[in-house]
Amino acid sequence: MKNRIGLVVGCLLIMVWCLLPVAWIISLSFKSEAAITNGSPGFFPSDGGGAGWANYQAVWENDQFRRAILNSIGISLIATLLSVIVATLAAYAIARLEFRGKKAVLTIALAIAMFPVVSLVGPLFDMWRAVGLYDTWPGLIIPYMSFTLPLAIWTLSAFFREIPWEMEQAAQVDGATSWQAFRKVIVPLAAPGVFTAAILTFFFAWNDFVFGISLTSTENARPIPASLSFFVGSDPFNRPASLLAAGAVIATIPIIVIVLIFQRKIVAGLTSGAVKG
């Protein structure tokens, strides 16, 4: 009983610690701009300082912001999809086939994952401008993929290694080609891994700021995190904190939706019962 109380108190402390900034952002997003400028220390808006849904409405009616949301969703989803497809094929090869340079592939992948993102921004900026990828969707999708692929490959190859090889051999004996065995047996079994990789990739792409701000110049491809930093209200000396807060809250909604969708697919122990119990 004593332990339980300790556990509950501990959990509460951690949750307050983690969620307080989020709660504060939400609180800010419901205050009027004037109230914030004048100082509004309370969690709930003071009398007359509340803005209701006005901030959200204002943000949503802003073309720049809507365009940024579209960019972010499009770029992140495409990067995730491509990254997962490529990683699945690569991880399968690494888990199943013996080929020269297998170790090299894995080591290089890990090295890329450890490479500091910032150091690549300069060269990429130059290159993208030269080849015409600057300020385009592919210009962001490509660096996102290259930074998320290593992790996805490592995660997925661990999953593939867990799947008994007999599954595939059984499928082949049952009349499947290698591709059919892969598609109908191996991929469904690796689904939890695939979705884990997808979530990680999506997070990376969605949260990225460095590439987003350096490799774009217009609404053409600018994603939300970068766009929010360009969010300037009517008065350049007085940043619209409440609008920014509302924008930030809206920007987290797709992440929550994606996680909820994918989480259902990550069912642990899906492979149980494949082989002897």
């Binding site: 004996v173 499947a176 080609t177 122990g269 494949a274 082989v275 002897k276």
Partner: protein, 400 residues
């Protein structure tokens, strides 16, 4: 339905070690063939070469009238049951069984009919909508068999299908497999290391040791006429007793005394010096009981160390010393059989009515006609009856 013919099959791995060495086996249409041997004898490798999961280094694999060496598994039309069943956990039992049919793009109505028939045969009807994860070991085993029988393959291949089941279930499934095979009349190759399965299921049994075929014969032939020491030691439980022996005239001299053997056996083994005599435990008997039944044969006296009374029979253990020459050979044999180097002792199986007790100096009767004599250097059975021993590679020409 098809016959399977293996001609001089060799499998060498990257390091040049032959896992299967020059094995030739012909399996008739509808025959139940067992591949048996201790672990590492190449029996599973051989099976996987039949089904196409392992490349064949050299030799010919012929199924029906097609040489299948270079065909992919899916082109061979064989059905296989894996040791761990390899069911698809994301599919229901129904879809697991239907999987081969779906790949063959059969119409839904036909798939449904065939799956329900197979489920009926295997009494899986009520489990069709469940996932393999929720089934018991025996049920999973049956699903794996359902997946095999549903597609009317040319042959069934089983890779130690019962080794993951508990003893009771294993017995039931064994009979089930035998019944199914008889009913479908389909060519079957069955790999096992369990000699009970080998003896009870097989029309013929191929005994393998370190990739080499030792003997290919019916279970009875293997038991009564083992081609060499290895087969003799492998088949039978408790195993055959091996004793140092010398032949003088019509007599075999054993550590306990002399035993009379038939003249033709004595003749074949004469003048070869020290030999190994092989006598099955049940060819001994309590001398007083044997005399009462009027059985003829030699008797000897020995001190019984341990007695195990099982009701219907009694095992008596009698220790003996053997010369180093024989000991080395027997230790090697024990290693080949995956056994532990045990002491040299005689295991005799007596009738349950025997009153012999531990520590007693007992009189034991031995059936001299059933003694086999082996060459200690080559392990070859000198007294084998070639007419009733199936095929023993390397000894195909009967010694006259």
């Amino acid at each position: 339905m098809a016959a399977i013919t293996m001609k001089n099959i060799v499998k060498k791995y990257g390091d040049g070690f032959p896992a299967v060495n020059d094995v030739s086996i012909d399996i008739a249409d509808g025959e139940f063939m067992i591949l048996v041997g201790p672990s590492g004898c190449g029996k599973s490798t051989l099976l996987r070469m039949i089904v196409g999961l392992e490349d064949i280094t050299s030799g010919d694999m012929i199924i029906g009238d097609r040489r299948v060496n270079d065909l992919a598994p899916r082109e061979r039309n064989l059905a296989m049951v894996f040791q761990n069943y390899a069911l698809y956990p994301h599919l229901t039992v129904y879809e697991n069984i239907a999987f081969p049919l779906r790949l063959a793009k059969k119409p839904d109505a036909e798939v449904d009919k065939l799956v329900r028939e197979a489920a009926e045969t295997l009494e899986l009807g009520e489990h069709l909508e469940r996932k393999p994860g929720n089934l018991s070991g025996g049920q999973r085993q049956r699903v794996a068999m359902g997946r095999a029988i549903v597609r009317q393959a040319d042959a069934f291949l089983f890779d130690e299908p019962l080794s993951n089941l508990d003893a009771k279930l294993r017995g039931q499934m064994r009979t089930e497999i035998a019944r199914l095979q008889k009913r479908l009349g389909i060519t079957t190759v069955y790999v096992t290391h369990d000699q009970t399965e080998a003896m009870t299921l097989g029309d013929r049994v191929a005994v393998l040791k370190r990739g080499v075929l030792q003997q290919l014969a019916t279970p009875r032939e293997l038991y009564e006429n083992p081609g060499n020491l290895f087969v003799a030691g492998f088949i039978g439980s408790p195993p055959m007793n091996f004793l140092p022996a010398t032949v003088e005239g019509g007599q075999v001299r054993l550590p306990f005394g002399s035993v009379e053997i038939p003249a033709d056996k004595a003749e074949r083994a004469a003048g070869r010096g020290l030999l190994i005599a092989g006598i099955r435990p049940e060819h001994f008997e309590d001398a007083s009981l044997a005399a009462a039944e009027g059985r003829t044969g030699s008797t000897f006296r020995a001190k019984v160390e341990v007695v195990e009374w099982l009701g219907n029979e009694t095992y008596a253990y009698i220790p003996f010393e053997s010369p180093d020459e024989v000991k080395a050979q027997l230790q090697q044999l024990e290693k080949d059989l995956d056994g532990e180097a045990m002491r040299t002792q005689l295991v005799v199986s007596l009738d349950g009515a025997s009153r012999i007790t531990e520590g007693q100096e007992a009189e034991i009767w031995v059936d001299g006609r059933r003694i086999h004599l082996f060459d200690p250097a080559t392990g070859e059975n000198l007294t084998v009856d070639h007419a009733h021993a199936g095929r023993i590679p390397g000894a195909e020409v009967p010694a006259s």
